[in-house]
Symmetry: C2
Subunit: 358 residues, 2 copies
């Protein structure tokens, strides 16, 4: 199984919860990049419709992302309940109300079946390792399997499971960290890439804080086969990003990695909800996500940017508010220029000769 070859090694990250529309996926695909449609937080019929929209526009050369669910866990639910009680006390003071924490597998099995039935070109997994049956079923219909990893341990597990490629996601990345092992090391994308290149032969897609063609070229030079960008596309007109969110991305505000919104580490622009609850937010996904989902959507619809999840990678201020095709073309041109500049200024010369420098 191999990864699809596209004219430019740029990949649109799957962005669940709004930004990653079928229109955005189709637009980047038309421009020569590889788009990923998110399947998270939508039902199976909506996913099927979204796939149909993309397929009708660009044929089959795109991917779909699946969230691998954790098993239900009574202790995790309890942690979520305690946290949401604290959150509710504050929420009430600003006229909001969370729902009860609850478990969901987000229709994982049905979505997986749909992707197999559709012979989806590439299926990427986040939040967990798909079981062997899932990987085999996808391989049987010709799909490539990508697994998102954030550390070397997850990379080893994904390769052993038969992944055709790894999304190597650094700590700089916006929104959720896609790994599943509780790693003490919060790997930046460049150290992570260096480690994985030495460790595995599997193709790597680098993600995390990549916003310009220079960085696309940098991760390719470091050994990645492609660069995955999310935030860089969030201000495109084809994206479903809320206007108040898109406007906030344009600022220079700091981001933080926090469990405050969903119970799982995710990078967002710092705001009141994150600041108030970061220190006490537990490891409790999807239960906290389920409890806060409606409340956050409501805040978003009212442009209350202090109360919802302003997902953002570290280089968010560099995201451009232009059509997705222009983002792809600009990134591609910048990346080629950066590579050429580095080669001309240094890489093409002879290796360093030892010698006394005066």
């Amino acid at each position: 199984m191999r990864l699809p070859t596209t004219p430019t090694p740029i990949v649109l990250a799957p962005m669940a919860g709004g930004p990653g529309t079928p229109e955005l996926v189709a637009a980047v695909g038309s421009a020569g990049a590889l788009g990923f449609l998110p399947s998270g937080y939508v039902d199976v019929d909506t996913l099927r419709t979204n796939i149909d929209v993309v397929r009708s526009r660009i044929g089959g050369s795109f991917g779909v992302n699946l969230f691998v669910p954790a098993a239900p866990d009574a202790e995790r639910l309890q942690r979520a309940e305690q946290y949401v009680a604290r959150l509710a006390a504050w929420a009430e003071t600003v006229g909001m109300q969370p729902d009860r924490p609850a478990y969901t597998d987000d229709h994982y099995t049905d979505k997986l079946s749909l992707l197999v039935e559709q012979r989806t070109r590439v299926v990427s997994f986040t939040f967990g390792l798909p079981d062997q049956e899932a990987v085999d079923a996808l391989h049987d219909v010709g799909s490539s399997v990508l697994v998102t990893v954030t550390n070397p341990e997850e990379a080893s597990a994904a390769v052993a499971r038969g992944a055709d490629g790894l999304v190597a996601q650094g700590w700089e990345a916006g929104a959720h960290q896609g790994g599943w092992l509780d790693s003490a090391e919060h790997w930046g994308v460049l150290p992570l890439l260096q480690s994985l290149v030495e460790q595995v032969d599997t193709p790597l897609v680098a993600a995390g804080g990549i916003a310009t063609g220079r960085a696309v070229a940098a991760v390719l030079t470091a050994g990645a086969q492609a660069a995955m960008l999310g935030t860089a596309f969030m201000r495109c007109p084809e994206a479903g990003t809320a206007p108040s969110h898109a406007a906030a991305l344009h600022g220079s505000g700091p981001t933080l990695m926090t469990r405050a919104f969903t119970g799982r580490p995710a990078r967002a622009l710092s705001n009141e909800l994150a600041s108030r609850f970061d220190a006490v937010a537990p490891d409790a996904y999807p239960e906290v996500h389920v409890a806060t989902s409606r409340m956050r959507a409501d805040a978003r619809s009212r442009d209350h940017t202090d109360r919802y999840h302003l997902w953002a990678g570290q280089a968010h201020a560099l995201a451009r508010a232009v059509p997705a095709a222009d983002v792809v073309a600009t990134l591609d041109g910048e990346a080629r220029a950066a590579l050429q500049r580095a080669t001309l200024s240094w890489g093409a010369g002879a290796p360093a000769k030892p010698g006394r420098q005066g």
Copy 2:
């Protein structure tokens, strides 16, 4: 004022406290890279001797680093005293004893005068912005001035002060973060580089988690003029790294950024002291450093790796235990190969053409 041109754009980070010996600086210089001698934690006579040793071996093509002292601060001292009291209670149980916290400027003014007198080729500053008089005095004798920055705000201030170049240090870096402003964003080196390239025209030296030639090539492609590496040289025979520290670097243990050892954020391998005190360690440098310095040196001399500062960048496991000249030559060769590979596989081709992908 310009930065020195060396045969290979590799820079040895200044490593105070042992690893950064004059022998190591001379060895990397002989191999075509630019070495930085640390001036921190030594007296002026020792610094003068160290400079003489390097100069006798490789002439003047090397740099010296200076720690810019903060002004004395009664509240900071008080925070240090409270913290060191807690630390002392634990230290006693393992037969150790911290000293009293105290302020020091580490002979900054005398060291600066020495560097001016010596017409040091490059002087780099960390922990603060040198005042205008210092920058002018160095420029007057032909020295280039580098300032270490960890965020865009510090970069602006350093450029305004007349810095000839910036060391752009990412969060992945081992040992102390070299900035001075309390930034909410913990910039990874790649997002930081992308931001600074857009913001300033000043040459950038990238630092943080760079351990291989691939990463050297990556940061050059991203827009840096050179790559600065510290941990990558710590296992060289010329380095003054304690054997138990060098051995620990070879493992895959996680690192953390902590104030536990010195009162200033620094990345170290996780160990008992860091784990126990990270959460309560205050912003109180140099007072905590002064109080724990002797105790940590003592633990180091006894190979008690759980009780001293095992400085390490995130990619520490990739550091090679070979002579410094071999590290430089290997990095240089790897970097050129990485650039060539990226150019051949992609960069040399025509820009992406929009088109329907089947």
